[in-house]
């Protein structure tokens, strides 16, 4: 357990010290503020921007999506890099179990992605709270923010981090990038509607409707919400487990 915690700690700390992490966070924050900053023009353009819940919903579904795409690249190289630098061979020669190594990497990646997403949402909500040209009770911002962190940020981080760390351990990292680009591309092309969203939506699936629902659309499709949650958490856990089950990963025989 102690060794696994050491790996988690290293992964978490190392990722936070990378300039690219802050570059991605900065790019996503600038994009979010250009899109959702409560300026007169944005308030005129977006009908519900005066509602804090809508702001959090939009920041998570649209701008959080860009952030997760960037983090996917940063997380994907964890296993290939260890393999390339010979670190994996070094670790294999230690009294370290395969399970400890993989779980350390996966959990470290998850905690990192979840923390960055929480920082991103909190930062944007704080800017919205301070800059809004109308009075907002603090609780009106905090409630949707906490909801977004629990119902959306957690499963999304789990999906992105576990898939991004685990899959390049099994397939060529470039092939993984291609798969991820196709999935993210399909997500980006999706236009929201009153009907249930496809289950494979990452940040704009029906889970996000637990934060805010368009008042013009009545939505009570619980099955679709469960399907989206199951896809995000289930596929993350399945890919993570596949790597643990793969014998060839740790010993070549």
């Amino acid at each position: 357990m102690r060794k696994m915690i050491a790996i988690i700690r290293y992964e978490y700390k190392m990722q936070f010290e990378r300039l690219a992490t802050w570059g991605v966070l900065l790019a996503a924050t600038v994009f979010a503020l250009l899109d959702n900053y409560p300026s007169a023009s944005n308030l005129a353009r977006l009908e519900f921007l005066n509602e804090p819940a809508y702001f959090v919903y939009r920041t998570m579904s649209l701008n959080g999506f860009v952030l997760m795409f960037g983090l996917m690249f940063l997380l994907a190289e964890r296993f290939p890099l260890d393999h390339k630098t010979g670190m994996k061979l070094l670790l294999m020669s230690h009294a370290l179990q395969k399970r400890q190594y993989i779980l350390g990497k996966l959990l470290g990646g998850f905690l990192y992605a979840f923390s960055i997403l929480c920082i991103f949402l909190t930062l944007n909500t704080a800017v919205y709270f301070v800059a809004a040209p109308f009075p907002i009770p603090l609780l009106d911002c905090i409630v949707p923010l906490v909801k977004a962190i629990i119902v959306s940020a957690f499963p999304v981080s789990l999906f992105v981090s576990l898939c991004s760390v685990a899959l390049p351990g099994m397939i060529d990292i470039r092939l993984f990038y291609l798969f991820a680009a196709i999935l993210f591309g399909i997500n980006a092309a999706y236009v929201g509607s009153a009907n249930a969203a496809p289950f494979y939506m990452i940040t704009s699936g029906d889970l996000i409707r637990l934060i805010w629902v368009n008042p013009k659309w009545s939505f009570n499709d619980t099955g679709s919400i469960i399907a989206n949650g199951a896809f995000l958490m289930g596929s993350g856990l399945v890919f993570g487990s596949l790597l643990i089950l793969r014998h060839k990963f740790w010993r070549s025989e």
């Binding site: 991605v24 994009f31 999506f65 795409f69 960037g70 690249f73 060529d172 990292i173 470039r174 680009a181």
Partner: protein, 216 residues
């Protein structure tokens, strides 16, 4: 030159060909099964294939992230020639796969002539891959160039509503995907290609600067 090109192809490795062939095959299958609902050509050749080419240039045609970069920069007379050759090989081979995919998918669903498909495909692919080559010559970290171009690609996909602003249609990267009937799409492609050429001017200056630094 042929010997150098052969050597570069060997460095790129077999995975590049396997993944390119798999991606091309997947798109051909999609062209058969997609039906009329999917706007197949813009999605495939204006959005997806250019990003695949970008991944190829960033990952297989890496320059500064190459572990031998310092040695190559110190020993070659012109770093720019090496960067250009590596780019031309990765871009060229991926584009050959794209053309093959266009020809085969046109056999199953003829909607647009081949020359129009080429015009739809080449400028965004050239721009995004040139941007990737530019990031590749500036940053030493592996995957950083692909990451930066990936974020640009995704943001451009997400901001298609900006087309409501007059003038944006001239520089929006995926004009046929966002607005197929837009009359300025050909101008848009010319401008995108010109920006791509400008990026190569910046790459040339950067290579010259590195070369000068190595020889002084």
């Amino acid at each position: 030159m042929i010997r150098r090109a052969t050597s570069e192809i060997k460095i790129i490795g077999i995975n590049f060909f396997i993944i390119s062939a798999a991606f091309t095959s997947a798109l051909i299958v999609l062209s058969v099964i997609a039906g009329e609902l999917l706007n197949f050509y813009p999605v495939s050749f204006e959005v997806m294939f250019p990003f695949f080419v970008t991944i190829a240039v960033g990952e297989w045609g890496k320059t500064r992230a190459d572990s031998n970069f310092d040695m190559i920069a110190a020993q070659s007379n012109s770093l720019f020639h090496w960067v250009l050759l590596r780019y031309v090989i990765t871009f060229g081979i991926s584009s050959l796969f794209a053309i093959f995919c266009m020809m085969l998918s046109s056999a199953f669903r003829y909607e647009l002539p081949l020359w129009e498909l080429l015009i739809i495909y080449l400028p965004p692919a050239f721009f995004l891959s040139s941007l990737c080559a530019l990031f590749g010559i500036y940053y030493t970290g592996e995957h950083i160039a692909t990451l930066a171009c990936g974020i640009v690609w995704l943001i451009v996909l997400l901001v298609r509503s900006l087309l409501r602003i007059s003038g944006v249609e001239y520089i929006y990267l995926f004009i046929r995907y966002a607005d197929e009937q837009n009359p300025v799409w050909l101008w848009n492609k010319i401008i995108i290609a010109a920006i791509g050429l400008f990026l190569w001017g910046v790459i040339y200056l950067k290579c010259k600067k590195i070369n000068n630094f190595c020889f002084t």
